[in-house]
């Protein structure tokens, strides 16, 4: 460092401060590594323990299977197809039913939730009925849908819809109800019609409420689709579970579970990504500006 290029005032303090912030960054990095390392270790330990105990016949591998067998089963399905057809087809079917059910349920929930949130009379009239329907454990409707709509995807979509609808509906309703009264008053003063208040004030401020329910409800949609398939279907991961169970193939049940978890995580990630894009106006991610 030549003295001509360095500003003299900064030099005594800067290295010290640099050192300290560097040390802090190092400590933070260390912490992250430690957390990740321990996580991996925990997973490996648990799987190893399972595998070891099963191989040593401490636990019965027939009932409890073991990780290597589950992996083999998953690989075998992926490469050579399942008894019901290609694995991707099963995944696609389940995903298709869950997604379709989710979209319909979300749409219905949002529309009805906002409508009832805006129109007090409707809310007063329909309120008790919705409460009763919500109190019903809706998964018991799956067999009825099977009778109504048959073995095809329609019955699974229907059970996904009823599971998704209610949480979304209640959140949208609450969101529409809890809109800042000031904001509504202000927009009406600024000249907004009722329609404009609904679409440009109520719906945007309810979106954060709705989005919280979207995360939960996608899980519900998967449950609806899987349970529907489990009860009776011609294709899908739920059917895979049911068929594996029917042949006492514990590895098959676990492998299907594993695949489901991966699918659910991917969908969740996609949703989180969308949410970040949509909520740029929120203070939560204010730090970096944009």
């Amino acid at each position: 460092m030549s003295p001509e290029t360095v500003t003299p005032a900064a030099s005594p303090a800067a290295p010290d401060r640099g050192d300290r912030s560097r040390a802090r960054a190092r400590a933070a990095r260390h912490h992250t590594y430690l957390v990740y390392g321990t996580r991996v270790l925990l997973l490996v330990g648990l799987i190893g323990l399972w595998e070891g105990l099963a191989r040593a016949a401490v636990i019965d591998p027939f009932n409890f299977s073991m990780p290597s067998k589950i992996w083999d089963q998953a690989v075998q399905w992926a490469l050579h197809g399942t008894p019901q057809g290609a694995l991707w087809e099963q995944v696609w079917y389940t995903l298709y039913e869950a997604l379709l059910g989710w979209v319909i349920g979300v749409f219905g929930g949002v529309v009805l939730g906002i409508t009832l949130g805006r129109i007090r009379f409707l809310a007063d009239v329909l309120g008790p009925y919705i409460k009763v329907l919500n109190a019903l454990p809706r998964i018991v409707l799956a067999p009825i849908f099977l009778i109504w709509f048959g073995l095809g995807p329609a019955s699974k979509v229907a059970s996904a819809v009823v599971l998704v609808f209610f949480p979304v509906f209640f959140n949208a309703f609450q969101g529409a109800r809890e809109v800042d009264r000031n904001l509504v008053a202000n927009s009406r003063i600024l000249g907004a019609s009722n329609r404009q208040v609904t679409f440009q004030v109520v719906i945007p401020s309810a979106t954060s409420w709705i989005f919280t329910s979207l995360h939960v409800s996608f899980g519900f949609a998967l449950i609806g689709a899987i349970v529907g398939e489990y009860i009776g279907a011609t294709k899908g991961l739920g059917l895979l579970v049911a068929a594996s169970q029917g042949t006492f193939n514990a590895s098959g049940v676990y492998a299907a579970m594993l695949i489901l978890a991966v699918v659910a995580l991917l969908a969740e990630g996609l949703l989180a990504f969308l949410e970040r894009r949509l909520f740029r106006w929120k203070p939560a991610d204010a730090g970096d500006g944009r």
């Binding site: 008053a185 740029r280 106006w281």
Partner: protein, 271 residues
């Protein structure tokens, strides 16, 4: 009072009662008579919670009076008029809209085409000194900047009547003085009639042509004082003038009594 034209705002024997959550009626405003001339800046002062804000909601058409009449430009108020601008105490900007889009909201609601609305919004943003902030979201602004957005969003509609409900009470003292000056400047070009509700007597004298003192709730007009300070005014310097202090003393002798009554009632509640 100037009756040669129909005044901008006129309240005649107006009362407003609300139903409290417990079901008992609560009278916020009782038998209120008030006249605001065209282009006049009227400040309404009174003890906290006496029903000043209710008066504004009656003029705006957000609420209807239980009794009496509210006239705007000689016409009884029916619903929210398009000549009204309202600046609220709390932030009433849309958090999901950018600054520019917030200011465009009013004209867009009223069916102004987008390019023209954008032009007008930019114009007002420049006047409140936020031209370079148009892409920001409200949460990225300071309290004073958000208030400026609210002012721009109100003025962009060219209101003939401007209702302000303690608009600067949430700001710190320096920002407040600055905003008061800016408000006077923005207002001076428009010829709008202003009703400015506050509990800060200094602020009201510095801004207004006329100070209306309200009684402890239920609110009714106690006394009206003319403020004969010359315009244009600078809020920081005008409060040092002897005439200002004279007016202040005069009004406080009237307002102080109502404040004491409110305070005693509060104490009685606590006891």
């Amino acid at each position: 009072m100037n009756r040669h034209t129909s005044p901008a705002i006129e309240l005649r024997g107006t009362s407003k009662a609300f139903r409290t959550p417990s079901g008992a009626p609560h009278t916020a405003v009782r038998d209120l008579d008030l006249v605001v001339g065209r282009g006049e800046f009227v400040a309404v002062v009174g003890p906290t919670g006496c029903g000043k804000s209710t008066t504004l909601t009656l003029v705006s058409g957000l609420e209807e009076p239980t009794e009496g009449e509210v006239l705007v430009a000689g016409e009884p108020v029916r619903g929210i008029g398009d000549k009204i601008g309202f600046v609220f105490q709390q932030d009433a900007v849309f958090p999901w809209r950018t600054v520019l889009s917030n200011v465009m909201a009013g004209p867009r609601f009223r069916g102004v085409p987008k390019p023209e609305a954008r032009q007008r919004a930019r114009d007002w943003l420049a006047r409140v000194g936020l031209a370079s902030f148009e892409d920001r979201y409200p949460h990225q602004l300071s309290g004073g900047q958000r208030k400026r957005v609210a002012l721009a969003a109100t003025f962009v509609n060219d209101p003939e009547i401007l209702l302000m409900d303690e608009p600067f009470s949430a700001l710190d003292v320096q920002t407040r003085a600055l905003m008061s000056d800016e408000l006077l400047e923005l207002w001076s070009g428009t010829g709008a009639s202003v009703v400015f509700v506050t509990h800060d007597l200094e602020e009201s004298i510095a801004l207004a042509d006329k100070v209306v003192v309200m009684t402890a709730g239920p609110a009714t007009v106690k006394e009206v004082f003319a403020v004969d300070l010359p315009r244009p005014r600078k809020v920081e310097s005008i409060r040092l003038e002897p005439r200002f202090l004279e007016i202040y003393r005069e009004i406080w002798s009237s307002l102080g009594e109502e404040v004491r009554i409110t305070r005693e009632r509060g104490a009685a509640h606590v006891a």
